[in-house]
């Protein structure tokens, strides 16, 4: 019964979305406050109905209702409760339901907290947002309905893919969706502004928190996925330039560009039409990402289903929204004239450079991702575009950004000189150069990219600190330290996020450049040396049982090679999930700040012993640590006074004039 109610609520939400797409838009056009005001309750209703529908599906998973074909295909009674819940979105249909749940939640947030927006803009934003919801409700109901019943329910389910039964991956999709869908808000604001024909500083201030929030969620989502790949897939890779990874990375790059260009709109009323275009493209890349994952046109490792019907539907959604928005952009963008005037050397031009590099980097990822498709369709060549291409074509942009970042971040608005920030940054440059050269000298004969990256990482981190410190002005140490704590959170957010970029670069280049690998047949009780560690296979327990799997688990001692003191005993595992018929590996990892010791267990060998792979991975955790720091910087910036005060102040302003006739 609850299932039917959930299904019904979903259909009802679809109807409300159609209403909200049309009525407030017409109301804004005709200047009817009553029509525009319908958007708020409609947005709330859409969210409540979708949330109920989602809760109904979750209930079906938790109670293992095997009359639902989706539950049969993705669950099992023996599965732990946590994974019964995360199994709701561990599949195509359920994840789409989560997608629209977040979409309607964000729409409702505009209705709840967007009281400071001009009424016509708010009505139009909600209408555009709802049109996106209409498309996705239709997609779910017509091609991917999660509420389909089976005529004869089986006794038990087929279990969730074992690799998805993991905390890292369980929460990776929701964060990514929060990011993708957050960009739909920027899109709605951009299209609404084009329809209004007006973009001003207030618009920039409204669109930036949404973009920033979306970017934070994307950062966390991508970080989680990468961390999961690192510890779960059994060889410690953290980024594969896989089409689906790229699908999440492209919106990240564009939203990073967007949140920088929105600053220029907010502070200087320039770069307006470019910012609008970025907002449209950012959501476009989110849709392309969805298309890549669901259609199977690009053979990818985590395509949910190779279903052409679904692919065509998403392609239609993409065509309608991108085509429509870009057409509107072409017609209206000319009207958005820039106001701010700035000289060639200024923070504005620094941010233009940032946008240029991020946008072109995103384009490089895009063309590399779809090139196999283009080559096959138009040139009759079957080829692959893999990590070596992306490493070669993408890395220069990262280095370009890294060189420019500290300098541009310290330039003042309007008119600047290069000399002043450069003088302040001398310590950062010297330190970066010294550490880079030292790294190069210690590891002579190896790749030159790693020392370069290390030097740039130091340059960025020290540069970010320098930026903060110079903001405290002149005076004695105590006074400056006091002012440091009172700096606006936006300043702190900027410095922290930029430092995070440095940390991630540092982790990536050291991990890829200087890891030590050892592959051998290890015999029980025979110790051997890898790097600065002594490794000994103590034994293997071959008959372990988990809740829903069988396992072989090794005990591997890791000792300090010089002193022989035990550091850790690792337990790498090989598991087999009999219901899904799938093996997985669980690496044994001794994590640390300076290095991870990473051990995986292989096959038993004919002549006795086990195949054992051991890696020493330097600074591995810095890759994800940097991502967390970036996200933290975003949160600091998001909590800045001007966003909180702006919302409150506009509410106060409205009170004396009373609530418009509703």
């Amino acid at each position: 019964m609850i299932i039917e109610l959930g299904h019904f609520a979903l259909v009802l939400a679809f109807a409300v979305a159609i209403f909200q797409m049309v009525v407030p838009m017409v109301g804004a056009e005709r200047g009817s406050a009553a029509w525009m005001a319908t958007a708020d309750p409609a947005a709330t209703a859409q969210f409540v109905l979708t949330a109920f529908s989602f809760a109904a599906l979750t209930y079906a998973f938790v109670t293992s209702d095997f009359s639902l074909s989706l539950v049969v295909a993705n669950s099992h009674t023996d599965k732990p409760l946590l994974y019964k819940i995360t199994g709701v979105w561990g599949n195509h249909e359920g994840s789409l339901l989560l997608w629209v749940l977040i979409l309607t939640l964000f729409g409702a947030c505009v209705a709840w907290f967007g009281q400071g927006l001009p009424p016509t803009l708010r009505a139009r934003v909600l209408a555009v947002q709802s049109s996106v919801a209409v498309a996705f409700f239709a997609f779910i109901l017509f091609t991917s309905n999660p509420f389909l019943r089976l005529a004869s329910p089986p006794f038990n389910g087929q279990d969730l893919n074992p690799l998805l039964q993991d905390p890292g991956l369980a929460f990776h999709p929701p964060f990514l969706y929060l990011g993708y869908v957050g960009l739909s808000m920027s899109f709605s604001f951009a299209v609404a502004a084009l329809i209004e024909g007006r973009v001003d500083a207030a618009w920039g201030r409204w669109v930036r928190p949404w973009t920033l929030a979306a970017w934070i969620f994307l950062t966390i989502g991508i970080g989680l996925g990468s961390w999961w790949a690192y510890y779960e897939l059994g060889w410690g890779g953290f980024w594969f330039w896989d089409p689906v990874e790229n699908a999440s990375f492209m919106p990240w790059l564009i939203s990073a560009a967007l949140l920088h260009s929105a600053i220029v709109v907010e502070k200087r009323e320039s770069l307006k039409s470019w910012t609008i275009l970025l907002a449209i493209l950012a959501f476009g890349f989110s849709l392309i990402g969805t298309f890549i994952v669901r259609s199977g046109v690009l053979t990818s490792v985590h395509a949910f289903a190779n279903d052409p019907e679904r692919g065509v539907f998403i392609l239609m959604i993409l065509g309608v929204f991108m085509g429509g928005a870009l057409l509107l952009f072409a017609l209206r963008a000319g009207a958005m004239e820039a106001k701010g005037v700035f000289s060639t050397v200024s923070r504005e031009s620094g941010l233009v450079l940032n946008n240029l590099l991020l946008a072109v980097a995103c384009f490089v990822v895009f063309i590399g991702t779809i090139w196999p498709l283009i080559a096959e369709l138009f040139f009759d060549r079957t080829l692959s575009v893999g990590p070596p291409f992306f490493d070669a074509a993408f890395t220069p942009f990262v280095f370009g950004l890294a060189v420019a970042l500290p300098i541009a971040a310290m330039m003042p608005w309007k008119r600047a000189t290069l000399a002043k920030p450069l003088r302040a940054l001398i310590p950062a440059a010297v330190l970066g150069l010294a550490v880079g050269l030292l790294t190069w000298a210690v590891f002579t004969g190896r790749t030159a990219i790693a020392p370069l990256g290390v030097g740039l990482a130091v340059w960025i981190v020290i540069g970010a600190l320098t930026d903060l410190w110079t903001r405290t002005g002149r005076g004695d140490l105590a006074g400056r330290l006091g002012r440091l704590t009172r700096l606006p959170r936006a300043d702190w957010g900027k410095a922290v996020a930029h430092a995070g970029v440095g940390f991630t670069i540092f982790g990536v280049v050291t991990l890829t450049g200087y890891q030590i690998e050892d592959i051998r047949v290890a015999r029980e009780g025979e110790a051997y040396i890898v790097g600065a560690y002594e490794i000994e296979l103590i034994g293997v327990d071959e008959n372990l049982r988990g809740p829903n799997y069988f396992a072989s688990m090794a005990a591997v001692a890791v000792r300090n090679a010089d002193t022989g003191t035990l550091i850790d005993t690792l337990h790498p595992e090989r598991r087999i999930y009999p219901v899904a018929g799938m093996p997985t590996t669980e690496a044994g990892i001794n994590g640390g700040i300076t290095r991870d010791v990473y051990v995986t267990l292989g096959d038993p060998q004919d002549g006795g012993g086990w195949a054992l792979r051991v890696w020493i991975k330097p600074f591995a955790n810095w890759v994800w640590g940097g991502a967390i720091i970036m996200a933290l910087g975003g949160c600091l910036s998001l909590s800045d006074r001007r966003y909180r005060i702006a919302a409150g102040a506009s509410r106060r302003r409205r009170e004396p004039s009373g609530v418009p006739a509703e």
Partner: protein, 158 residues
């Protein structure tokens, strides 16, 4: 992130997961082994999705890894060993597309767009900088003298 790979691979291996590079594959000569690893990380596993033979657990990847090592022992250079594999399996195995024919577009697309974007950006920034200039230099002689008069007055008041 690549559960489907593992899933597909599982089909080939029936039940047991294996390590990518097996201990018995490793060559005694560390220089040759290093070259073999370098080559195999640039070759695609044909039965997997977007995985190099160096990372893959599949049987075919193992065969290819052994083939690469055979060629190196036979005295091939890296390029010759790669050509040998490409001649048998097509350019699909190359994870790094060659710089020829239509693929030149792929390689040059980024740099060209960067140049174009640089041109547009410089044009835009110059335009913004010039937008300031007329306002400053746009004072006529009359306005200039009036401005001086006002400024002069101001001085007198002080």
């Amino acid at each position: 992130m690549r559960w489907l790979v593992v899933f597909l691979v599982a089909g080939f291996l029936a039940a047991t997961p294996a390590l990518a590079v097996q201990p018995d594959e490793v060559l005694a000569d560390p220089v040759l082994e290093e070259r073999a690893r370098e080559i195999s990380s640039g070759l695609r596993c044909l039965v997997c999705r977007n995985e190099s033979i160096d990372e893959s657990h599949a049987e075919l990847a193992r065969d290819l890894r052994l083939l690469v090592r055979e060629r190196l022992i036979a005295g091939d250079t890296n390029a010759e060993a790669i050509d040998y594999i490409v001649a048998r399996y097509g350019e699909f195995v190359l994870l790094r597309p060659t710089f020829d024919g239509s693929s030149i577009v792929l390689w040059l697309a980024g740099p060209l767009l960067l140049l174009l974007g640089l041109g547009l950006s410089v044009g835009y920034v110059r335009g913004r900088a010039r937008a300031a200039a007329p306002a400053e230099a746009g004072l006529s002689a009359q306005e200039q003298s009036r401005l001086e008069a006002i400024l002069g007055e101001d001085h007198h008041h002080r």
